[in-house]
C-alpha cells in the first residue's frame, strides 16, 4: 500500500473498530492492481506501475513540467510514437498474420489481502452524489475491482429518481482525465502537500495577527453543510476574513426574484407532476437548473399515453432561442429575452386579480400572433387554477421571477404545483455583487491571501469595470491559493495551485434541490496528489491535515440524532442520502404586486440583442476538457466541438450570414459558416455564426464555456470566449453591441444538417386531438408488408426467438433530445472520442444518435439554403421532433446478408450480433444499413496508451481497435450477465428473467422514460404493451427489415385555440 496518497493514510488513522462492511464501503484503489486480467490484458499491473510513478518517480516530474501532458481524450492525428507502434503492429501483422501470431506470456496479479465482500470479476455499486450548482444529483457508481467505470442515477434519490443527465454520465471521464493537475505547485514548481501545509500555517499565523483582514475566500455555489461549516469555522478563526461566491452560469435572477417577491432568499421547488398546464418564461427546467432530472421525469410521466383515452399535460414555452424544454413544448413562441417581462405582464394582466390594475394596452407591444398566444395561455392557465404552473427561466431577471411567483400565487398554484423552502445554498448571496466586492477589495489592496476554492474567475469573471483584467488584479494579491482539478487560466496567476479531488475521490456531502441531505463517498483514493476544499481550508486552521470523513460522519450523526450511530452511518452510505431531510415548505408572504412594476419597454425593432447562455454540453466551461461532452452534438443545433453565435434564419438573411456544406463530411459532418466580429461591453470577439430555426429574430445567442486557453489538450482553443464580451450589469441580456459579418468561413462540426424527413416513414406525429380521432395515425401510408408474407423459412421452428425475444420501444412523445442516453452509451460501451477533425469527416462513433427533424411543411428541402424564400418563413418557429436511433436489430437484417465473413449474424434471441474479432472491415454492412447506425474505426480512434483511460473502460465490453465495424448491441453484456444470474438461480435450474431486470444503458439514463427495453415474448412486459399500442410503428417499415426497435408516434397536446395558428 506504499505510495498511496495521504488521504489513504488518513483513512487508516480514523480510529474506528475496523469493521468489515465499512471497509467494503470504503474501497481503496490498490485493489485495482488486482483487476483480473479479464479487465483487458494486465491493465491492473500497468496501473500499479503508474501509481508508483506517482509516488515520486523522477520521470514523473518531467512529465509534469511539460506544459500539456499528452491528452488522450481527443484523438490526434499527428505522426508520433503511436504511429510508430501502429507501423510495428501492422508490419508484424502482415508478417505473422496477426491471427495466428504467438502471443507473449501474460501475468495474473492477485491481491495480497483481498478486501472482504469483493468478488473478483463482479462489479459493485456504490451510492454517492454529484454536486452540481445548487443541487446534488444522486448517483450509483459501478466499480470493477475498485475502478469506478459507470455512473447511473440513484432511484432512491429525489433529484434523479434513477435517471441521470449527460453531465453526470460524463463526469466519470473527468475523474480519469489525463490532463488533470497531478501535484501541488508553487509558482509552477512541484511541491508536496506537506510543503503547502507548512506555508499555509505560516500564512495563517500572519493573518491571525490582523484577525484575517487580508483573507478572502472565493467559492462557487455551496450546498455542502460540511464544507460550509468548515468555511464558517475559518471565518470564526479570522473574524475579518470574507467569503465571496461566484458561479458564472447561475443567474442571480432566481435569488433576487425571491427576495423581490418575498423579501428574502427562498428556494423554489416545482411539483411538475401535479401541473396540467405549464408556462415556461424562457425556462429550461427540463435540462438545466436544480432538479431538472426529476422535473423531466415528472413532466413526461404526465405525458405517458397507454392509449387514445389518456390525457397529457400541456407546456407553453416563450423563449428567445430553442432550448430542450422549448423544443419539447406543445406551443412555443420565440420572443426576445427582453420582451419576456412584458409578455409575463401581459399574461398577468388577463387574470381577474390584476385586470385593469396593470399597464393597459400591453398587448399592443406584440404581434397579432403573439397576442393570440397570450390570450390562449392566459385562459388555459386560469382554466387550470391550482393545477397550472408558471416557471421563470434561470437567466431571466428578478422581475420576471417575481412575476412568476405572483402569477403562481394568483393561480393558487403555491402549495400544489410549486412550494418554497429555505435556501438550499449554505450561504445565498448575490454573486455579481459578491464578486464585485472582492474585486474592489483587491483593487484597493486590502487582500493579501486569497483562497480560490474551485472555479476559474480569470476566465469567467465579467469583463468590465473593476474586472477589466482580473489577472492584473490577482497580481496585487500577495498569495493566491487556487484549488482546481486542472491547471487552468486562474492557476497561471496563482502562487499556489492545489489539484482538486474529483467527487468520486473524496468525502463530502451536499443538499439536493429540495434540501435532501446527500452523502458523497469516494470510490477510489485520489489518482494524483489531489485534495478537497475542506482539506485546503483545514490547512489554515488549528487542525491541519484533518479530512472531511469525520465531519461527514458527525454531520450524519447530527441529522439522525440518537440511535445506533454505526448502523445509521452504514445505511446512509448505502442509500447515498438521508431520507426525509428535504426542507419543509415555508409560508412565503407575497411582498410584491405586478402593479408595482414600471411599464416594460420592448427592444427597438432590428436592434440586436445579445444573450448569454450556458453551453448545453460543456456548461460554463468546467466540462471543456471532457471529450465525451465536447463530441456530444448539442441537442438543438447538432453541432459539436465549438460554440457559435446563434442567429435566426431571417436575421441571418438580413445580416448576410450564410453557410455552405463542405464536400468533406457534408450534411453528416461539416458545414462552413460565416465568421462574425462582435463588439460588446468594450470587448471584441470573433465567432462563427450558426443559423438556428425557431430562434427569435434579432437575437444573437453567445454560449458560454468555450474559448478556453488552458483547459487541457481537449478543451483548449475551441470555439470563442463569450465571457470576453460579458459585462457585469448585463450578465445575461445585452444590447448596444455591434456585429459585423466577415468574408471568412469557419468549419463547424455538425452531425446532422438535413432536417427534413422528405415525406418518408421516419417520424410520425399527431396532435392529441388527431390521435383521439385517429389512434392509428402512425400507420397512415404505412407500406409495411404483413408478417406472413415471406418465402423464407421460419426461424422460430429452428428454435430462434423461442425463449426470449428482445425488443426496444422508443416513445417519440417523450424524447426531447437531452442526449443523456448518448453519453451513457459511450460510457457503458467504451466508445472512443474521435475529435473535431474526424467528426467533420462524418466519422463520429456514437452508437445511439439523436436525429432532429423540423416540421417545416416544406415538401422537400435540398442541401443548401437555395430556396430561402420558402425556407425562412417555414423555419421561423418549426415544431421539432427528436428521434433516438440505436441499432434497429432487424430480423431480416440487411447488414448480415452482405457480410462476407459472417461477423454480424443473428442470435437466438433476435439480437443482431456484432463479432468484432471476426470483422475484417469491408464496411459493406454499413452501406447496406438503411438506418446508418453502424460505426467504423476508420483509424485507431481508441486510446491504447494512456493508463488512466484504461482504468475507465468497462471490462464487460470488448475494446475495439482500428479497422473494425461496431454498433449498438442492446447492451448484450448486461443481457448476458442478467441471464447467467437468472439461470444459476434455484440451484442451477434457473428462472425466467423478470421484466425490467435488464436495463440498457440508454434506457437507464433516460430521464423521460422514452426508451423501454424488454422481452417481446412476454405479453406483460412493458415493451410488449408499448409494441401493442397503435402508435407503435417501424421506421421505414416498407423495407421489410423487421426492426426490433420500434417507435411510438409523437403526440403533442395542442391547444385547439392555437392549433394551426
Amino acid at each position: 500500500m506504499d505510495g498511496m496518497s495521504d488521504h489513504e493514510h488518513k483513512i487508516d488513522q480514523d480510529n474506528h473498530p475496523p469493521n468489515a462492511e465499512e471497509r467494503e464501503l470504503r474501497e481503496y484503489p490498490l485493489d485495482l492492481a488486482a483487476a483480473d486480467t479479464k479487465a483487458k490484458s494486465g491493465t491492473g499491473k500497468q496501473y500499479w506501475r503508474s501509481i508508483e510513478e506517482l509516488a515520486g518517480d523522477p520521470h514523473f516530474e518531467d512529465m509534469l513540467h511539460r506544459e500539456f501532458p499528452r491528452a488522450a481524450s481527443e484523438w490526434d492525428e499527428s505522426v508520433d510514437r503511436r504511429d510508430f507502434l501502429k507501423l510495428m503492429g501492422a508490419s508484424m501483422a502482415l508478417a505473422g498474420m496477426a491471427g495466428c501470431g504467438r502471443t507473449p506470456e501474460q501475468h495474473i496479479v492477485p491481491y495480497v489481502k483481498q478486501p472482504d465482500g469483493l468478488i473478483l470479476g463482479k462489479p459493485q455499486q456504490y451510492a454517492t452524489a454529484m454536486p452540481f450548482g445548487a443541487d446534488a444529483i444522486g448517483i450509483l457508481v459501478e466499480s470493477h475491482e475498485g475502478r469506478p467505470t459507470k455512473i447511473e442515477g440513484n432511484p432512491d434519490h429525489p433529484s434523479s429518481l434513477g435517471a441521470s443527465d449527460s453531465f453526470a454520465q460524463a463526469s466519470i471521464l473527468d475523474l480519469y482525465d489525463p490532463d488533470r493537475a497531478k501535484t501541488p505547485t508553487y509558482a509552477g514548481d512541484i511541491r508536496t502537500w506537506a510543503n503547502f501545509q507548512e506555508v499555509a500555517q505560516g500564512l495563517a499565523t500572519s493573518q491571525k495577527a490582523v484577525s484575517g483582514a487580508g483573507l478572502r475566500i472565493l467559492t462557487g455555489t455551496i450546498t455542502s453543510p460540511v464544507l460550509a461549516a468548515q468555511i464558517q469555522y475559518v471565518l470564526k478563526l479570522f473574524p475579518q476574513a470574507k467569503w465571496h461566491q461566484w458561479e458564472p452560469a447561475v443567474s442571480d435572477g432566481s435569488r433576487e426574484g425571491a427576495k423581490l417577491a418575498f423579501g428574502r432568499y427562498l428556494n423554489t421547488v416545482y411539483r411538475i407532476e401535479k401541473a396540467n398546464v405549464i408556462l415556461s418564461l424562457d425556462g429550461d427546467f427540463l435540462s438545466s437548473g436544480p432538479g431538472h432530472i426529476r422535473y423531466q421525469k415528472e413532466f413526461y410521466r404526465r405525458r405517458h399515453l397507454s392509449g387514445p383515452g389518456d390525457e397529457m399535460n400541456r407546456l407553453y414555452a416563450v423563449e428567445p432561442t430553442p432550448s430542450v424544454t422549448g423544443s419539447a413544448a406543445d406551443h412555443r413562441l420565440p420572443l426576445k429575452a427582453s420582451e419576456i417581462e412584458a409578455f409575463a405582464l401581459a399574461i398577468a394582466e388577463k387574470f381577474e386579480d390584476y385586470a385593469t390594475k396593470l399597464h393597459p394596452k400591453l398587448s399592443l407591444l406584440f404581434s397579432p400572433n403573439a397576442v393570440k398566444f397570450i390570450e390562449a395561455v392566459a385562459t388555459d392557465l386560469q382554466k387550470n387554477r391550482g393545477t397550472s404552473l408558471v416557471v421563470a427561466g434561470e437567466q431571466q431577471s428578478a422581475e420576471v421571477h417575481a412575476l412568476a411567483h405572483a402569477m403562481n400565487a394568483a393561480l393558487g398554484n403555491v402549495g400544489s404545483t410549486v412550494y418554497y423552502t429555505e435556501p438550499v445554498e449554505a450561504n445565498p448571496v448575490n454573486h455579481a455583487e459578491s464578486l464585485h466586492d472582492l474585486a474592489t477589495d483587491i483593487h484597493n489592496g486590502k487582500v493579501d491571501l486569497l483562497l480560490i476554492l474551485g472555479g476559474n474567475p480569470v476566465y469567467d469573471a465579467p469583463r468590465d469595470w473593476a474586472f477589466s483584467d482580473f489577472e492584473q488584479k490577482l497580481k496585487k494579491v500577495h498569495t493566491v491559493v487556487h484549488l482546481s482539478s486542472h491547471y487552468n487560466e486562474t492557476s497561471e496567476f496563482s502562487r499556489w495551485h492545489i489539484p482538486e479531488t474529483h467527487f468520486l475521490e473524496s468525502w463530502g456531502d451536499a443538499r439536493a434541490f429540495d434540501g435532501t441531505y446527500s452523502v458523497i463517498q469516494p470510490l477510489i483514493a485520489p489518482l494524483y496528489q489531489a485534495h478537497s476544499a475542506f482539506e485546503v481550508l483545514a490547512a489554515f486552521t488549528d487542525k491541519p491535515g484533518v479530512g472531511s470523513y469525520d465531519a461527514v460522519r458527525e454531520q450524519v450523526k447530527a441529522i439522525l440524532g440518537g440511535g445506533d450511530v454505526e448502523k445509521n452511518w452504514r445505511k446512509t452510505l448505502n442509500d447515498g442520502l438521508i431520507a426525509g431531510t428535504a426542507f419543509a415548505p415555508v409560508e412565503a408572504a407575497a411582498k410584491f404586486s405586478p402593479a408595482n412594476l414600471p411599464a416594460p419597454k420592448t427592444a427597438a425593432k432590428e436592434e440586436l440583442e445579445f444573450i448569454f447562455r450556458p453551453d448545453p454540453t460543456i456548461y460554463d466551461g468546467r466540462f471543456a476538457n471532457n471529450g465525451w461532452l465536447q463530441e456530444l452534438a448539442k441537442p438543438t443545433t447538432k453541432t459539436a466541438w465549438d460554440n457559435a453565435a446563434l442567429v435566426s434564419p431571417a436575421t441571418a438573411k438580413r445580416l448576410g450570414i450564410g453557410r455552405t456544406i463542405a464536400s468533406r463530411g457534408g450534411e453528416h459532418g461539416q458545414v462552413r459558416s460565416s465568421v462574425v466580429n462582435i463588439e460588446l461591453a468594450g470587448g471584441k470577439v470573433t465567432a462563427a455564426a450558426w443559423i438556428v430555426p425557431g430562434q427569435a429574430d434579432d437575437v444573437i445567442v453567445l454560449p458560454l464555456g468555450y474559448g478556453r486557453m488552458k483547459a487541457g489538450e481537449t478543451g483548449s482553443n475551441k470555439g470563442f470566449n463569450a465571457y470576453s464580451v460579458r459585462a457585469s450589469e448585463a450578465l445575461w441580456t445585452a444590447t448596444g453591441g455591434k456585429l459585423t459579418v466577415t468574408d471568412d468561413e469557419y468549419p463547424i462540426a455538425c452531425t446532422q444538417y438535413h432536417h427534413n424527413v422528405e415525406g418518408r416513414k421516419i417520424v410520425s406525429s399527431a396532435s392529441l386531438e388527431e390521435y383521439k380521432k385517429n389512434p392509428n395515425f402512425a400507420h397512415e401510408k404505412d407500406e409495411t408488408p404483413p408478417d406472413g408474407l415471406t418465402l423464407y423459412q421460419d426461424f422460430q421452428q429452428l428454435g430462434y426467438y423461442k425463449h426470449y425475444k428482445w425488443a426496444m420501444a422508443i416513445d417519440l412523445t417523450k424524447c426531447n433530445g437531452c442526449s443523456a442516453c448518448v453519453v451513457a452509451c459511450q460510457s457503458e460501451n467504451n466508445i472512443p472520442v474521435v475529435g473535431k477533425d474526424q467528426v467533420m469527416r462524418g466519422r463520429e462513433m456514437h452508437w445511439i444518435r439523436i436525429d432532429r427533424y423540423y416540421e417545416t411543411g416544406l415538401p422537400t428541402q435540398t442541401d443548401d439554403a437555395k430556396n430561402e424564400a420558402v425556407e425562412i418563413p417555414a423555419l421561423y418557429n418549426p415544431p421539432a421532433y427528436f428521434q433516438p436511433v440505436p441499432c434497429q436489430q432487424c430480423e431480416n437484417a440487411p447488414c448480415e446478408q452482405v457480410c462476407p465473413v459472417g461477423a454480424t449474424v443473428h442470435s437466438a434471441e433476435g439480437l443482431n450480433d456484432m463479432v468484432y474479432n471476426r470483422c475484417i472491415g469491408t464496411r459493406y454492412c454499413s452501406n447496406n444499413c438503411p438506418y446508418k447506425v453502424r460505426r467504423f474505426n476508420f483509424l485507431r480512434f481508441q486510446d491504447w496508451e494512456t493508463p488512466s483511460l484504461k482504468l475507465m473502460r468497462n471490462p464487460e465490453v470488448t475494446v475495439r481497435s482500428r479497422g473494425v465495424m461496431e454498433k449498438c448491441t442492446y447492451c448484450v453484456q448486461r443481457i448476458n450477465n442478467v441471464r447467467i444470474e437468472s439461470e444459476k438461480d434455484n440451484g442451477g435450474v434457473g428462472r425466467e428473467i423478470r421484466d425490467g431486470e435488464i436495463v440498457t444503458a440508454c434506457e437507464q439514463a433516460c430521464p423521460s422514460e422514452a426508451i423501454v427495453f424488454g422481452d417481446a415474448n412476454d405479453p406483460n412486459s412493458r415493451v410488449s404493451k408499448l409494441r401493442a399500442q397503435q402508435r407503435n410503428y417501424n421506421m421505414l417499415g416498407e423495407l421489410n427489415a423487421r426492426p426490433r426497435t420500434t417507435y411510438l408516434g409523437a403526440v403533442r397536446n395542442l391547444n385547439p385555440d392555437l392549433e394551426k395558428a
Binding site: 423459412q793 430462434y800 431480416n892 447488414c895 443473428h906 437466438a908
Partner: protein
Amino acid sequence: MSTEPRNTLYGVLGEFDSADALMAAARKIREAGYQCFDAFAPFPIPGLSEACGLHYGLKGWRHNFVPQLALLGGFGGGLTGFFFQYWVNVYAYPLNVAGRPLNSWPAFIPVTFELTVLGASTFAVFGMLALNLLPQPHHPLFTVPRFKRASNDGFFVCIEATDAKFNLAADAKFLESIGAKFVTEVRDED
C-alpha cells in the same frame, strides 16, 4: 537416366515445302500402311489430323481425350462448390443470417458456377498438356537443325522407328518419292 552416351535411331524425317504438300504426304504415308508417324507444322492445318488418322471422341480417345476431361472437371468443380456451401450453411455452423433460409441455394449459385468453369478449364488445359506428354523440352527431333523451321515455315513428316514396317533406307526413299525435298534420319544421341 543412364549415363553412358546412347545413340538410338528415332526415325526418319522428311521436309515438305507447303501445307498442302504436307497434307498429301501424310495421306500417302497413311495409305502406305504406316502407323507410327507424325506430321509437324508451324500452325494448325485443318484436316491434317484426319489425314494422319487421328480421331475425335471416345473412339479416338487416345488421340483426343480433352473434352471428356473438361466435362469431368466441370462436374467435379460444380458439385464440390454447391455441396460445400450447403454443408457449411446447413451442417457445419447453421446461423441465422438476415433471416434467410439456411440453404439459400440461389445465393450459392454464383460460387457453384465459378467453380464449374474453373474445374473444366484447368482440366482441359492440364489434360491437353499431359496427353501431349508435355513438358518435354528434350526430344530427338530437336537434334535436326532444320527442324527449327517447324516453328516458323517448315512442314515435316517423321516416320518413327517404332513403326512395325520401319526401315530406314526404304522409308527414306519413300519420303523422297512422295516429294520430301530434304530427308534425314533422326538419332536420339548425346
